[in-house]
Symmetry: D2
Subunit: 247 residues, 4 copies
């Protein structure tokens, strides 16, 4: 079983009728619902206004893959929690940042760059898959048309992705590296651009497929207790001494 | 002219006779001396115990490439200064981290990872060039033997380098990605492993060649004032309106 | 099930008593034996001296992952067969090149480079894993000591690997990118350096683990019938016409 | 001085009035003219219908950077010449493939992949620069609008570029990795998508800037005589013997 925690800011869906109409139970529960069809996944949710943002040490330390959606209240996430998330990724936890989470504290901490971009509401996106052999692209068509989506445009100020899987085309004239993967520490990080709160993007089956694949891809080989910086003895010196003794 | 600032912790060379014998004027002045042979470079130095660590806003904002050597007192560099350095790299400044600067605050901030490794004093290193077509490898031989150098061994916990230029071999049995390059923001970052304070590594002509090349490589195309995240209008909508009007 | 075909030159093991002692049934059958412990794999073998090198169209077109070991008789493999292998990789088939297969025709065709290197028999290798989060590194220790192995040394003249997973250390002073992965067409290619015919390298459990993992990693999402270069109509023009009609 | 040879198929411009109107002296001379403004460049041209395709051994062996434009007559270039070009790139020569040269023999030989794509005449392109710190992007704006250009769309079946510098947006709905760089052998390869024969793309100052930058970037550190695969002695064994003798 892969232990997945879906974190959501969960403010828009309670405060804005338009958003509530699209995600009545919140974006996190929409994601939980479609992920739950995969029997290998064990899924919890956590939100900003819960105690400890819903991410107690117990929850975090039993999470294999953390999915993050945030937008207007990135600053409400305590720095101490951000550091714990960062450390857990270093030790192996997968991290999937969705849409406006490009500016979330954990993602920026991991990227070590500004994560800036261009933006505009209410565009139309064509999402092109350029690496169909990737795990995240399995059973995903070469193009997904998203009728209404917030435009995010280049330059996306992130480190060069280790793998660029999707490029977005927007009707207003922009392009975007919409699906990017990085190795970070012992963990894996995936950023996926579609998913504005007022658009029903997470109801699209192909998007659900991508995110389900991403969870499997981000599931770690193992999670270390800590990352050390050890002094180590020479291994060859012992061999040399043996050689010397034997002559 | 490329404005280079060589930053050095400059404690070992004042406190330890063995180190002072190797670098009587400090590592920074040794580096300044060999870089000065390149007439395109305009070189300043800065050290930990100067006011503002020698890096006033004026100095930092007129630096194109910052070279950094630090070891035992990384924590003495104020977080506020680290953030200024980070921001300047985002805007285009080059950053070259030397040896134990793998654990310096600016480098860790830029990498977004632990930068851990294995280590052991007093090994012998063979530095292999695996990308001889790179600017940093120009006129550099395929192998440089460093008679005594501190071993740094894998796993080096950094993001996958955009370019891996040198791999180190150590007599004790380890390997290391000893010369790594990354694009970060509008800037370029180079990490170079050799250069322990008690070894005369920076006196080796081939090492000097590598670092001189690295300064040219890291010199930015331009330096931006800031990195914005702007709303932008659709460019195509205007074209569509024109098309509609013309029919 | 993943259909794996293990191809072997199979001359050394029949002509050289020393090699026969190490691999009495041939390298291909040694590999087949350890892969057979994985119930998801369906394994066949093929050798140079069989009809069509054992790779009829039927065999090739039902192969998901092709493993290749060759050394002294690369030139005996017909160019026509090489082109069929290349085309099948373009369409998705995985290809795993072992040791001296760095100079095999299919590998050189896929790399588009000379694949040259330095070499020397009878060295000792330490194989370091630098990307433990990779599928191929799952359950593999950070270091594998191979008591006797042929040295392959840098510069390894291959395109920059998409993923560098293992670096080899040799007692004679060299390093090597010993485990490299590339995306090629719709297929995935893995090169693994250890495995000289007179050394019992493929009997080492950790090496067996790596190759078993590599088969799973190289197993394609899908295999296409052919790679086309099609003219496509504008999708947006139709939308524009609809917009114009509706106004 | 950098010795540049601009190769052109030079058939369209002689056979098609529309193309002749755009490039009266041929695409090669248009490129030669704007490159000639750079005093560091020494420029020759060569065309398909000259003897040896204009690329005698003397010409090829004194070329530092070869620029290639071809379209309908790729098959007229002899395989023997292709192999010579390939070998020279392995030894260090830069190679810049323009537009429909994606299907040229030398480019396909170097890529080791099909280089297929989608296409459609007469679209409008927005070329976005996503790596402004790259040498090829120096003094290039973040967006270049090309009023009429042939659409090339993903999936572009090339190996993952070592550096992705430009992404093209097309009004018909497609995206393309329009500016890609690879290290190949000791040489550097750049592919640039804009430049259909009937469009005045090479008259656009920003495009001229990109190609001039690309020549400098592709200029090799050095050109080797050949790429060998040598046996080498152990360097450490001698050191070990000395150690043994001295004890």
């Amino acid at each position: 079983m892969i232990n997945v925690t879906v974190w959501n800011e969960f403010r828009h869906e309670r405060e804005d009728e338009e958003v509530k109409a699209v995600y009545p139970q919140g974006i996190h529960n929409c994601i939980k619902d479609f992920l739950s069809k995969d029997e290998e996944l064990n899924i919890r949710t956590a939100t900003l206004d819960e105690e400890n943002c819903g991410l107690s040490d117990d929850v975090l330390n039993s999470t294999d893959v953390l999915i993050w959606w945030g937008h207007c209240h990135h600053d409400k996430v305590p720095d101490e929690l951000v550091e714990k998330i960062y450390n857990r990724v270093m030790c192996g936890m997968g991290f999937i940042a969705l849409h406006s989470a490009h500016f979330s504290k954990p993602f920026k901490r991991l990227m070590g760059s500004t994560c800036s971009l261009k933006w505009r509401d209410g565009d139309r996106e064509r999402l092109w898959c350029i690496l169909p052999s990737h795990e995240i692209a399995k059973d995903v068509p070469e193009q997904i048309v998203i009728p209404v989506e917030e435009m995010y445009g280049e330059r996306f100020d992130v480190p060069t992705p280790d793998e660029l899987i999707f490029i977005g085309w927007f009707s207003g004239g922009e392009v975007f590296r919409s699906g990017c993967a990085w190795n970070k520490g012992l963990g894996r990080v995936f950023y996926f651009q579609p998913g504005h709160e007022s658009n029903p993007t997470y109801h699209i089956p192909e998007v659900q497929k991508i995110l389900t694949n991403a969870v499997h891809w981000a599931n770690p080989n193992f999670i270390a207790d800590e990352i050390e910086c050890p002094w180590v003895p020479s291994q060859e010196e012992e061999l040399l001494k043996e050689t010397l003794r034997s002559r």
